[in-house]
């Protein structure tokens, strides 16, 4: 059996690529090393009766076009938007967030009247940047060094987008793409806690602090998604993040695609300079007319392809591709809901993201620890309790708490993480929560602590980087993953890339998988089926 495409990795991008290829009539097979599908978008039962979203934990970036093209609601995918959010302050107060802009504005006014005024302007400006970037997410970046008609026309398209803006908007855009979020927020806000809350999305998954240039873009990367058309909104996938990949799998199988779990790829088979299949860890070979790797670019080319098959300059760029692990994760089974000193019981603010880092300075200091090769002494946590909204994940009255933590380096002072390091890291995070919710630790039934080491071992994300590569300009757009190879192709014929290492990057977005499928279909002159262009934001 020779498949039309063998896809390595049943993460969301691999599945999205497989779905589009299957719909276009290709015979596809997805191979997955774990016994389950999902990659970093999984729901796992690691404690009896509890379901954890143990890697990615919230959704917003997943392209609505893909969700509709692949009919994901049909097998039961539901997204539940946040209804709140909170940032606890050291003095016992908090900044409470709502679903509604005007309600947020009122809460901002409690901290600073000036900031409440600025919030309208800020929200409008960020939305404008979202509107600009969204169409780019679903297109293949051009190679600016090429004179091929397609690259030239794509460059012209980019130029048209840019010059379609007003002169002032162009300057704003360039500043926004190059600034630190700290400087950017200083132009709008004065209250430290409001600035800190807005800065959250600028550092998630990133080995940069909020004072590093380029973090305003990272904010945009997290703000350009939506939940049911509400741009910038985030929500939970009902049943955990695995619901997304389960729906993708169902959609794939409905169109005749296959998924093989349980054995990972040892080697990508290359014959006469062409990829012809893969060898699995059990020795099985799966043959295909092309191979599509959803693994990160380092793993794909440095671990599963023989060096002699690759040009030296490409190898050097791949080796120097930056995948800096910066985060860890705690998945916690709770006997009861925590009681935060600052909030009344069952406060709506618990129905969203919660944080204990009330200033940009604290975030930046946490980053300084990472730069020195340690996990943060006073870490930044993006904490939530999905079961406040989604009772399907735990027994009645119990709760699942997800804590995404920064910063955690891929190595501790150059040494591999030990179990003791991991436990100390976990304890630091639990202690921080306990400070704001006394008695919390007594309610803990089970904790899974994941450092970059565990993320790499289980999901295969090199260094535990959740984006399969840093989102800095040297690795974005036509530079992602490597200049000259931003079109999902690799130097090896018929070996393609479809993971988050490719444009437009990480997050549970699906766009890289969709774009890769589009390129493959274009390559074999097969019309895509059910593939929408980017929706415009009105």
């Amino acid at each position: 059996m020779i498949y039309d495409a063998v896809i390595i990795g049943a993460g969301h991008n691999g599945l999205v690529a497989a779905c589009y290829l299957a719909r276009a009539g290709l015979k596809v097979c997805v191979v997955e090393k774990n016994d389950w599908v999902g990659g970093a978008a999984v729901s796992r039962s690691l404690y009896p009766g509890f379901t954890y979203s143990n890697c990615s934990y919230v959704s917003s970036l997943f392209r609505p076009e893909i969700m509709r093209d692949l009919e994901l609601p049909k097998p039961g995918l539901q997204l539940i938007p946040y209804e709140g959010g909170a940032m606890f302050t050291e003095g016992g107060d908090y900044l409470g967030m709502h679903r509604d802009h005007d309600a947020n504005r009122r809460e901002f006014a409690r901290h600073s009247k000036r900031d409440a005024e600025a919030y309208d302007r800020y929200a409008r400006d960020v939305l404008r940047h979202c509107r600009f970037i969204r169409p780019m997410l679903m297109r293949t970046p051009p190679d600016p060094s090429s004179f091929r008609p397609r690259d030239l026309s794509e460059l012209a398209w980019l130029g048209k987008q840019m010059f379609g803006l007003s002169e002032a908007a162009m300057y704003d855009m360039i500043r926004f793409w190059t600034m630190s979020i700290s400087d950017y927020l200083d132009e709008y806000f004065e209250s430290p806690v409001i600035k800190a809350y807005q800065a959250v999305a600028s550092i998630i998954g990133t080995a940069l602090g909020p004072m590093s240039p380029g973090t305003a873009y990272v904010l945009l990367h997290h703000a350009m998604g939506d939940v049911d058309g509400n741009v910038g909104a985030w929500g939970f996938a009902r049943g955990g993040m695995g619901s997304i990949t389960k729906a993708l799998t169902a959609s794939l199988q409905e169109k005749g695609g296959e998924v093989r779990v349980g054995h990972g790829v040892e080697q990508i088979l290359v014959k006469n300079g062409r990829a012809v299949g893969v060898v699995l860890s059990n020795g099985d070979e799966v043959h295909g007319k092309r191979v599509v790797s959803n693994m990160d670019v380092k793993r794909t080319f440095l671990k599963h392809v023989e060096e002699k098959e690759l040009p030296g300059d490409f190898l050097k760029r791949v080796r120097n591709f930056k995948v800096r692990g910066s985060s860890g994760k705690l998945n916690i089974a709770l006997d009861r809901a925590p009681k935060f000193t600052a909030l009344p019981e069952n406060s709506p603010h618990m129905k969203g993201d919660m944080h204990f880092t009330d200033s940009i300075e604290k975030m930046e200091r946490a980053y300084d620890d990472w730069k020195s090769g340690h996990f943060s002494v006073d870490p930044f946590q993006d904490m939530m309790i999905p079961t406040m909204m989604d009772p399907t994940m735990t027994p009645p009255g119990k709760h699942f708490m997800s804590c995404f933590v920064q910063y955690a380096p891929p190595k501790i002072e150059g040494q591999d993480w030990t179990d003791a390091d991991r436990d100390a890291f976990g304890q630091t995070c639990l202690d921080q929560i306990e400070k704001y919710a006394p008695g919390f630790k007594d309610s803990v039934l089970h904790v899974e602590v994941r450092t970059p080491r565990e993320l790499e071992a289980e999901v295969g994300l090199t260094e535990g980087n959740i984006f399969q590569g840093e989102l800095t300009f040297d690795q974005l757009l036509f530079n992602r993953p490597v200049p000259g190879y931003a079109q999902y192709r690799s130097p090896i014929k018929d070996l393609w890339m479809c993971g988050s290492s490719t444009h437009p990057g990480g997050g549970v977005m699906g766009a890289p998988g969709r774009n890769a499928a589009a390129e493959i279909l274009r390559d074999i002159r097969t019309p895509a089926k059910d593939m929408s262009d980017a929706y415009a934001i009105l």
């Binding site: 600016p144 060094s145 010059f163 002169e167 002032a168 162009m170 300057y171 704003d172 360039i174 500043r175 190059t178 600034m179 400087d183 200083d186 132009e187 940069l208 004072m211 590093s212 240039p213 380029g214 300059d313 120097n320 930056k322 300075e361 930046e364 200091r365 300084d368 730069k371 020195s372 800095t472 300009f473 040297d474 036509f478 530079n479 200049p483 000259g484």
Partner: protein, 519 residues
């Protein structure tokens, strides 16, 4: 009182360059300088009797070639005490690495062959990138709009120049121009001393660490400079940096420019949205059709003009212009020559032992704190020529990073702590130096602001950072040296291409004013 076509505020290097250029083009120019002598960042400073230090800048590597020849600075007395200054990456154990020739054309000291080869290739690449960027410094930044007076032909040529790097290098340029310096250095080199020195150079005068994105371009900007006709070289003017200021002032006066010192301007006079003159602190009013401000744009608009004459949005943009200074200036009077464990004192001595050390020196300023182990660039002018210190004694001039511009601890406490940390750092590299010090002076960024008028103590009159470069400098929408006020122009380092003892911004502004047919 004779009347003038142009009143120019601020007799720093950019002000003098702009004034001379305009005077030669037939305008009568009056320069108003608040200090007792023109020179700005190139002034000398007698911080203790018998010792004359370069007050701020102490190395010439950015003097614009048009200024040098157009003002005939050689003829007006500018000579060099050292033309191809070496840089020494100091090591606490005496195992120094010396970069000789422009931008370290050759390396002396123990260093691996692999690093020598890697540095040769990297240096070549960085210089080629710097070379395609350099011409941009000598022109008015374009506007991103149709139907403007952009120099389209010239821009197209410069753009083609970037593409002419070749396919592979063009791609590398697009990958690297917003990258952080540390990644590039770590990818290519392994020697900590070399990486530390280059990381230091990249962040010198900035408010970034070498791990901050957008930091490599600052190194390229530095390498785009020149001295004594040689790209990326460093030079020491004979008589110190003050000699540059003196030569520029002489040249300007010879061209016919009138310079009034001790004449601080209190207000720019505005009538019906046009600048009509200035009012001095003394109360004296001077009228003219054209006012050029060669001082900080923030001071110009927020103090000399005031929000009353400006749109609110514009005022906010100016207020948001970042001008955090992170560099302090250290002057030491020494009884005798210090010993940096055998390092040649006729070299630029750099204490920046690793990228980590530079990054660690940067971290505290983010929180307005003083670093424990500052990094620094040291010159000993007295090692090159007499006149800076009494015979047998020495003057040490150092730019020290990073210093907070608004310290939590208060000005005096922070200065004392910074000085102590500097001395401890120096003692590690030059044991016994503390005992040689007869007098020490540390100018913190806030001291520099108070004494020399640079907002935040930032020597670029506004941070030179990507989001404040080219057509975004000093603020977006006002990067062509003109302002929303009729008859008012900008010419300071706060405008493109930024500071350093250069004169480029002033020269560009004059070009623009002449081209627009104003004044």
């Amino acid at each position: 009182m004779p009347s003038f076509d142009v009143i120019l505020i601020g007799g720093g290097t950019n002000g003098l360059a702009c004034a001379a250029r305009l005077q030669k083009a037939g305008r009568r120019v009056l320069v108003l300088e608040s200090q007792s002598a023109p020179g700005g960042g190139a002034l000398g400073r007698s911080f203790v009797p018998g010792f004359r230090a370069p007050a701020l800048a102490h190395i010439a590597n950015q003097i614009d070639s048009r200024v040098l020849s157009g003002m005939d600075l050689d003829r007006h007395g500018l000579k060099l005490a050292a033309s191809n200054l070496t840089s020494t990456a100091l090591s606490p154990d005496g195992n120094h690495l010396v970069l000789q020739g422009a931008a370290g054309a050759t390396l002396t000291g123990t260093i691996s062959d692999a690093d020598r080869a890697a540095w040769k290739a990297l240096r070549q690449q960085l210089l080629s990138f710097a070379a395609v960027m350099a011409p941009f410094k000598q022109m008015t930044p374009p506007r991103l709009a149709k139907g403007t007076s952009n120099e389209y032909l010239r821009l197209a040529k410069l753009g083609l120049g970037v593409r002419a790097l070749g396919k592979a290098e063009f791609r590398e340029f697009l990958r690297m121009f917003l990258i952080n310096a540390a990644d590039v250095l770590n990818d290519e080199l392994s020697d900590d001393r070399l990486k530390g020195l280059l990381g230091f150079d990249a962040t010198l005068g900035s408010w970034l660490g070498p791990q901050s994105p957008n930091s490599l371009i600052l190194l390229l900007n530095r390498l785009a400079g020149e001295a004594a006709g040689q790209k990326a070289a460093l030079a020491l003017p004979a008589g110190g940096m003050a000699a540059v200021a003196e030569a520029m002032a002489k040249s300007a006066v010879a061209a016919g420019v009138t310079i009034r010192s001790n004449a601080p301007v209190a207000q720019i006079l505005i009538e019906a949205d046009r600048a009509t003159g200035v009012r001095l602190a003394s109360g004296e009013e001077l009228r003219t059709a054209t006012v050029i401000s060669a001082i900080s744009p923030k001071t110009t608009f927020l103090s000399l003009i005031g929000p009353r004459h400006l749109d609110t949005g514009f005022t906010n943009r100016i207020r948001a212009q970042k001008s955090r200074g992170g560099a302090a200036k250290l002057h030491l009077a020494l009884k005798s020559a210090p010993d940096f464990r055998g390092a040649d004192l006729k070299s630029r001595l750099v204490i920046a032992p690793s990228l980590r050390a530079v990054e660690n020196a940067y971290n505290p300023v983010k929180y307005n704190e003083v670093p424990r182990a500052p990094v620094m660039e040291i010159t000993l002018p007295s090692a090159f020529e007499p006149g800076h210190a009494p015979d047998g004694q020495h003057l040490l001039s150092a730019i020290v990073q990073f210093a907070p511009h608004d310290p939590k601890a208060g000005h005096d406490a922070a200065r004392a702590e910074m000085l102590a940390n500097c001395m401890a750092q120096l003692e590690t590299y030059a044991p016994g130096i503390g005992a040689l010090v007869t007098h020490a002076e540390l100018l913190m960024p806030y001291d520099i602001e108070a004494q020399y008028g640079m907002v935040g103590g930032n020597w670029h009159h506004g941070e030179l950072a990507v989001e404040q470069m080219l057509f975004l400098r000093p603020v977006p929408g006002m990067a062509q040296y003109s302002t929303p006020i009729g008859g008012l122009w900008l010419a300071s380092a706060g405008t493109h291409p930024g500071g350093g003892i250069s004169g480029a911004a002033g020269w560009n502004a004059a070009d623009r004013i002449i081209k627009e047919g104003r004044a």
